[in-house]
């Protein structure tokens, strides 16, 4: 009777073939998108679930082949072992001081500098901005060695030497202290500060000038305009940079592993050497198979990402909504 299925459906529903075609393709697109999103969500959620599942597994039961995702018996043994081997609480506090301190420092300094580049024309403003781009491009590894020496024999560009008759100290060894991250961040030269300056500059450039001019007419100086007018309007940019900076400092391995060599090191460095410190602290012995060690390793990994994950869960609402308005684009 009907030549095609489409023709049948069209006649049955009294719709034109055009609309029908449109509906079908819309349906196909939606289904495809849904499948795609589910697949990718699995990809992105997988490590979190895996860490949690493996670390809740009792290490002694590791060889049970019938368990893939949900442990038969929930055990906190591997968490206890990992906490001991990571020096978890001390390391977490140190990491938090580093991450929080340098994040606050770099958000303040980078936003001020970004505002300067966004709103003012002055001597060297062009070259200055090119230098910002240079700091983004040069890998930290190129300057790592001299930064190491710079912090080992820290004298603040010779200033501390000038005051040495007063203080009796010619140089400070800043290694193994959070200052190696916080002091550069204060001067917008910390971890990925160049990128933050760029984000703030692009954001401030996109703001209308009217409000600042109104503030100026009301008698505000440049700094007061910035604090009273610009900062309250730029909360989304601040939150984005806050989160980026915190995460990058928290996860940083390269600089941290160079600057910290004592017992208590940032969590990322501790996690990097977890296998050997598990052996050293006697949590696992060398007779253990990789299957048994696995739950300790995953527990360590989960404990390491747990604090930023909790922070992210509470801030993600601001974060995912604010990105659209940060105007990183320019």
């Amino acid at each position: 009777m009907f030549n095609t299925l489409a023709e049948y459906l069209t006649l049955k529903h009294h719709r034109s073939p055009q609309i029908f075609k449109y509906k079908v393709s819309g349906f196909v697109v939606k289904t495809f998108r849904l499948l795609f999103i589910i697949g990718l969500s699995y990809l992105f959620l997988f490590p979190v679930f895996y860490m949690l599942s493996a670390s809740l597994q009792d290490p002694a039961m590791a060889h049970d082949p019938s368990v893939i995702w949900i442990p038969k018996q929930i055990s906190l043994a591997s968490f206890n072992g990992a906490i001991k081997a990571l020096n978890y609480w001390e390391s977490a506090i140190l990491t938090f001081i580093i991450a929080a301190g340098s994040t606050v420092a770099s958000v303040v300094s980078c936003s001020v500098v970004g505002y300067g580049f966004a709103r003012f024309r002055f001597f060297s403003s062009r070259i200055g901005f090119m230098l910002v781009v240079l700091t983004i491009i040069v890998p930290p590894q190129t300057i790592a060695i001299s930064s190491y020496l710079n912090f080992r024999f820290f004298d603040f560009g010779g200033i501390l030497k000038l005051f040495s008759p007063l203080t009796g100290i010619t140089e400070w060894n800043l290694l193994n202290t959070p200052w190696v991250f916080i002091i550069p961040s204060l001067f917008a030269a910390g971890l990925r500060s160049g990128l933050f300056i760029l984000i703030f500059r692009q954001f401030f450039k996109g703001m209308p000038r009217d409000l600042e001019e109104a503030a100026k007419i009301d008698g505000c100086g440049a700094l007061k305009t910035f604090i009273r007018v610009m900062i309250p309007l730029s909360i989304p940019a601040y939150i984005t940079v806050l989160l980026f900076s915190f995460i990058w400092h928290w996860n940083d391995l390269y600089s941290s592993s160079m600057f910290f060599t004592l017992e208590i090191r940032p969590l990322s460095v501790m996690l990097n050497g977890l296998l050997s410190s598990l052996k050293d602290s006697g949590v696992i012995d060398s007779a253990m198979t990789t299957f048994e060690m696995r739950s300790y390793m995953q527990a360590g990994a989960f404990l390491t990402i747990l604090p930023p994950l909790i922070i992210y869960i509470f801030t993600q609402r601001y974060f995912t909504e604010s990105i659209e308005r940060t105007g990183i684009v320019g």
């Binding site: 491009i137 890998p139 790592a144 001067f187 030269a189 996690l271 390793m297």
Partner: protein
């Protein structure tokens, strides 16, 4: 006359204000960037000895560079393969992050939650935790469905034999399976780029799409004629970010070599390696700049 003088003062004051805003960066740049940068350039031409109190340098000329290229067995190989990897890794990362961003930019049920999930790589992937998961055999076998045999995972074994059956050469097969073996870690590198693309997509004026809808353009044409050209500057930012991200990855073979040389206090070699590496990065970035400025000129 009076008025002119006043305006001059205002401009001068304004420019001083700007200078003061930027001053922290200049100080930080001098102390924590330029100073180490010059110093490490000097190190590359010297042999450095560290004592308890201070360090001494003796001039070596190009000996450090001669050593790393002529005598170090791994450096040259790592440098070449590290750079060649970019040719497929960068396109895969950038294209997929653009694709993800375009999906996240559409309106659908539960978008807020999905966005939160899609941004997880930003939180996790930059850390060591990700390496622990990736280094775990069971995790990768559950994930990829590959067989764990004798402690080694045979990646994409089915695909590999299929391609070899189909008459592909060994080299082609290896490079294709490499893409799939690395898919997991590559998708995890798309976080930041996705956010930047999303911001870029949001900044395209909707009126452009309205106009093209009136002209009767399809979504496919919209993508090539509106979305892609408008995203060109952002794409350049992302390509550059991806290259830098891959090059400065702390798991990168050369980075590990530099670090191990630092740990054994052979600072001259470490600096020479880092500088030679930086020149390769600069060269790659220069090529990217040229290509993209060509592209944008063609479009305008």
């Amino acid at each position: 006359m009076e008025k002119r003088k006043l305006r001059m003062n205002l401009t001068t004051r304004n420019s001083w204000n700007g200078f003061f805003f930027v001053l922290p960066f200049y100080i930080g740049f001098m102390l924590f960037f330029l100073h180490p940068l010059i110093q490490s350039l000097l190190f590359a031409f010297h042999s450095v000895k560290i004592d308890v109190k201070e360090y001494t340098m003796s001039f070596m000329g190009l000996k450090n560079f001669n050593y790393i290229f002529a005598q170090d067995a791994d450096y040259k190989i790592n440098l070449i393969f590290g750079s060649l990897d970019l040719f497929w890794k960068v396109p895969v990362i950038v294209i997929s992050s653009l694709f993800f961003a375009m999906i996240l930019n559409q309106k659908f049920f539960g978008r807020g939650f999905i966005r939160a999930v899609f941004f997880l790589p930003v939180i996790i992937a930059t850390g060591v935790a990700m390496d622990v998961v990736q280094g775990d055999m069971i995790a990768s076998s559950i994930f990829t469905g590959n067989v764990v045999s004798g402690g080694e995972i045979s990646h994409s074994s089915a695909l590999r034999s299929l391609l070899l059956e189909a008459g592909m050469s060994e080299a082609v097969t290896r490079s294709i399976t490499a893409v799939f073996d690395n898919m997991f870690s590559l998708m995890w590198k798309t976080g930041i780029q996705m956010i930047v693309f999303l911001a870029g997509l949001q900044s395209i004026s909707p009126s452009l799409y309205e106009a093209s809808a009136i002209e009767g353009a399809t979504a496919w044409e919209n993508f090539w004629k509106i979305t892609l050209p408008m995203l060109l500057p952002i794409t350049m930012v992302n390509v550059i970010y991806t290259i830098i991200d891959l090059f400065t990855d702390s798991k990168n073979a050369i980075m590990l070599q530099v670090l191990s040389n630092i740990n054994t206090l052979r600072l001259g070699w470490a600096s020479a390696m880092a500088w030679a590496y930086f020149f390769v990065i600069a060269l790659v970035l220069a090529i990217v700049f040229i290509v993209f400025s060509r592209l944008s000129r063609n479009h305008s």
